[in-house]
Symmetry: D2
């Protein structure tokens, strides 16, 4: 990216975070209903702290931190940067106020813009590298902001609404089909010039068998069949840990589903409404995705199968339903001749691949090395982005990862065979 | 109280709750750092819900609730009024907003004032009884508001300040002494016309031995001696449950104490400052009060001894340091000839009496019966009010009660022998 | 007690502990199904350790401990004697074996008998005092052995039987009645020569009102009425902590009750059998006793009322159903003219009194002071002994105490008014 | 295996389980110090229940269960076979007694032997298949018996000894070296006639890069260097979940290590003794193995690398240190020219591979399908067997699997590069 574009990218990403929060009341910025959810004001501060600590502190002559306690308050999990507020305590901090955090953002932005204008040429490559990193980091938190705002709203008995519902044309059903994908020795991972996380590298070869991939995402209607067939009551479909989760957490349906008088309703950021059977199922855990696949006598694709199929079928982000489209909800597949739809955007799909380092993976030195590598245990890979992902944040090689029982993320299912 | 006075009392109590919250930022109203603490906005709504549910619903023709979900949101623990937000979840609710709650207060107040003006004569006695109850209830929550705001501020690494520190004249030390109190068959409990809680009744006789009572509250300086003597490290001073609490919760000093470079500091609502050795010790649990007394080879008074001494020595609330004085902190005893000082206000004192019903106690029917009686197990009685208690809320017969390990209350120690 | 009697008492108590364990398989000695229950082999070792550590170590010339680790293994909760196995870990220790513990008992007994024969006259008074204490201590553990064996057997799906059922004559129902007991200034506590625990002293005066006391214990039949009336489903009968216990622990009936095809069954040490409606209800918590009393529109007596009534009605231990009778289960009241029955033996009754020190109470110095005083918080007093108590262990002034939610003890209900 | 051999195999496996338990006291059979550990008597009953339920029930005419409750008592985790004792409760059951369980074993063995003699020809293939499965299952529990007995003994403050220490010749140190292993498209998994678990199939091809594998296991001496370098105190070596485990569980060294006066000691089944620096490190979690590898700037091999290397280097089980050798402890590598030593036996090595199904994996129908497939989440693969594994139980394709934090297993480290 040339410097000018990067500066513009900086302004646009920074502005987008604030746009996402615009519909919130001050109180909405503060709460943390479960450990996984962070208060929106914390996200806004944390991404700013990243620029302050990683970039300003390094490049700004006579750097002075905006506030001496913010390193303690806004550090997420970087052991390298010292002690920090214990994660489940984020929602117990009334200060700094929302107003103070916006002031913090403005102050850091101003200094960043100044650096863009004035930084000596010799520092520019490293500066650009770190700014790019910081912006990708902020984009990830934009996605988390959407997850967390949805949870905060859904958790509230007054059932607040984030944005008015858009008109949604009733779509005909797109039938499920399986497309043949040829295997072989295929190339996996990132090897072009642009930005990618260290966990997408090194690019390497993987041996795949021929396989079949579902043309579209699994729908709510299909998932209701699983529920109606007693899917949540039959241990045979479930991994042992999954069956424990079903019982301990009392799962009967995806997160944000409620049944009233025989009709399923779902929470959306435009409030609760009737379940649309043609929309992709969303907010399922890996355990549910895996159980559904077993029940359907299919399986989840590996992350290598997914990436390979996406590459050879030449799927386009421009066709996907991303954060930029402000739907904040997955959309039904289009009724077309069978082709690979909904690969990018809508919902992340759980893969059958554990989140591990690629052959030859070495994590970055220092604090930035804590970003991906240290999470390589007990998590599964998701692929493809969601309607909460910024479109220009995604790549075909992008690896998202979460623990098997997480459901507040925008996660769904695509079957393989 | 005549009706006019009651209406004025209503206005004044309602206003006082809002006064207490005036220094807060909106964010401060929302958080719940520990289960014991409720968000200030919850207190403001809950006391209002009490008037709406107990009084407006009963006396208001064509009563309509302000919001159909508020009964769920603002019920504290009244099983009679149905399901409610689980207590530790209060801090997860961003809505209703602070602004909406103030609007709720205004709407309920307006209807209450209207009832004061228009209620039929025949309903007035019951109305007055319930309004009095509701106001005493709100006064109790004013005290809790002070506790909770202090905790919220102390919990915050940015160390916010609630009000500027007042000038504090340096007082000479008042020496400890023990006053002889004669025993006999004494009268305990409430039997006059005015308002009292059901747990202060029936008045009854108790047989007391002659005893000695300390002339003033135990001071920080005396408590530091206990600490320096290894009080927190020697199991012999402690009740078994207390010793467990010391170890599991890592107690080394009262709540809100911190040691830096050999000097103790305490959190006040005017920020952190050096410990004043002449101030009464505050924020100790029953276990600490009891251990201190054992270490000092004295004991805690029973609630009967305390009440009897207060009555025969004719102590005056007007001399005490109460919420009305806006100190929000206990003050040192005055250097005088030995007399019973600091019996009312400053800090509640833990007594050696378990919180149980008086002989002949019967709890009220219905929801209001849930107020006191159902808590009569595993709690100890405290007496005398604190600097967070409204002065006109207290009586000599007043019984406060908490579990033995609570420390966020304004609680201290007076010894007996 | 003269020395000769004491030596005989020693032999008899020591033998009785082993008698209680005679029906056990080795495996039964080892397990700890819940934290409250200790493995029988631990009890046998612990009471022996008490004699070894408190007496042999003091009086035996050239004392050598039987095993250097037994102080760690068999100390219960005496901080004075150093670190010890964490209570919930007792059931994780396979060694020492049962055989080794019996050898330990024999070795300590032999040395004790030798001391009885040879101890210098000047040491005899202190020796006698400590032996008496140790034997009372062992008698308390005999009672716990019965509780714990019952729990271990009831917990086992194979439903083992401890002893064959005795023939039980079917008794006619004894109707409930209330006897008038006059109040006044009454004497409470121990003041004679014989042994008593420090918590029964000092004897002192208490002012009582006139009251009524039920002639017999509450029966299973009466308790079933409470259950059938929805007693466990109506919060209004319950203390707040009790209601929490009902819900968290899923209480629907006393411990060891099971309902099959509409008929209640109870576990006894002679196996499961149909509930006898005339037997005293047993294995209820304080919360259940209190809720039952509220539902019956009566109340529990205070410990002072109980002791006073027992004294003036001259109740006799010789008529009671104690451990010596080897019923291991409470018996129905006799059908007679109304008189105070079942005051001693059968089941301990929960009183309305919190377990606190009497006026002037000072706990003993040193390790033995840890025996009673440190438990004076969050417990209620029970009175009267049970069918698991040795007859000669009990006194009218005897104070037993447990937390409000304990149910594995032989505890029941007598109402007052 | 021909039928005659199978019958002999049956007798020998069954006898071996009892041999392993021979040194135990009855009490040692009963306890369960942590959830992971099962009481030895439970293992002996459970493996017998497997033969009774899976084989006798199917093939025995007029089958009658030995005891109607044993299905409840001895089912481990098979949902297909109904409810069962909750795993952490296994150590709370004193009955059935050890004697009863040996009688159960004898009764089932007798019927099994009878079936071997008399079963109709047409049932023989399925019978053989299931007997083979049952024996492999029992062999796995033999290994667990060793783990669990070690834990039970180590947990006991009396420090019992399982067998007398064998003479251990002092070996010279074998230097670490890295052997080059060529990659390519390699064959992974089981495809011969003999028995294998479903998780070893289907055999399939994997693409491997060239890599280096350490010639021997990592030693205690090397691991002490990691400890001395502050390995347990530096977050940079650790996975995030691993760092949490270090802190929450207070890890400072492998399980069963203790430091006294600067010298490390280890628990063995022959009691505690000084750490031998040349022995393979044992009882480390995956997190510790991974952290050690990162600190050493190496990595753990994948399970595919391990299997490929073992196959092409033609390693022999006959050279390994297995259960049959009754060392119950790993042995030092031999000082030889660099070659691949200690691949089989001694300790299982943690691999970098998550435990997932091979391409095309389908789990068996019915109860036996619960054996492996349902555990395919949140676990890592271990390879190579240990000194607690029966020699004839192992194969090069054998996949063991445990959660990342388990340490009571005989697990160690071999590095790759």
């Amino acid at each position: 990216m040339n410097p000018f574009d990067l500066q513009q990218f900086f302004s646009s990403v920074r502005k987008n975070s604030e746009e996402i929060c615009r519909p919130l009341e001050i109180e909405d910025y503060v709460v943390q209903p479960i450990d996984d959810v962070s208060p929106p004001k914390w996200h806004l501060g944390h991404v700013t702290w990243f620029f302050e600590t990683v970039i300003l502190q390094k490049f700004q002559p006579n750097f002075k931190p905006f506030h001496k306690m913010y390193n303690f308050v806004f550090n997420s999990y970087y052991e390298s940067f010292g002690t920090r507020v214990f994660r489940p305590q984020r929602g117990t901090l009334s200060r700094p106020t929302v107003k103070e955090i916006y002031a913090y953002r403005a102050a850091v932005d101003e200094q960043m813009q100044h650096l863009f204008e004035t930084l000596e040429q010799k520092h520019r490559p490293e500066f650009s590298r770190l700014v790019t990193l910081g912006l990708n980091h902020e984009q990830q938190h934009q996605e988390l902001l959407v997850y967390d705002i949805k949870y905060i709203f859904a958790n509230n008995p007054l059932r607040p609404v984030y944005q008015k519902a858009k008109a949604r044309p009733r779509t005909p059903e797109m039938k499920a089909a399986y497309l043949d994908i040829p295997g072989g020795i295929v190339e996996i991972g990132h090897k072009t010039e642009g930005f990618a996380w260290d966990n997408e590298m090194p690019a390497h070869q993987v041996l795949l068998r021929d396989f079949k991939l579902q043309n579209r995402l699994v729908t709510n209607g299909e998932y209701v069949e699983f529920i109606n067939a007693g899917g949540y009551a039959d241990f045979r479909h479930w991994l042992s840990d999954g069956w424990t989760a079903v019982q301990e957490q009392g799962w009967q349906a995806p997160l944000y589903w409620e049944k009233h008088d025989g009709q399923w309703f779902v929470m959306t950021l435009s409030g609760w409404r009737e379940l649309d059977p043609h929309e992709p199922v969303c907010h399922v855990s890996f355990y549910e995705a895996d159980a559904f696949a077993k029940w359907a006598q299919k399986r989840l694709p590996t992350e290598f199968e997914w990436e390979h199929a996406a590459r050879i079928m030449d799927v386009k982000a421009s066709e996907g339903n991303f954060l930029d489209d402000r739907n904040f909800h997955p959309l039904p597949a289009q009724a077309t001749a069978p082709r690979l739809q909904q690969m990018l955007g809508d919902v992340w799909v759980w893969t059958a691949s554990a989140y591990l380092g690629y052959p030859g993976y070495r994590q970055e030195e220092g604090a930035l090395g804590e970003y991906n590598g240290k999470f390589m245990s007990n998590q599964m890979v998701l692929r493809g982005g969601s309607c909460a992902t910024p479109r220009d944040h995604l790549r075909l090689t992008y690896r998202n990862f979460f623990q098997c029982d997480k459901r507040w993320i925008f996660s769904g299912i695509r079957l393989a065979d």
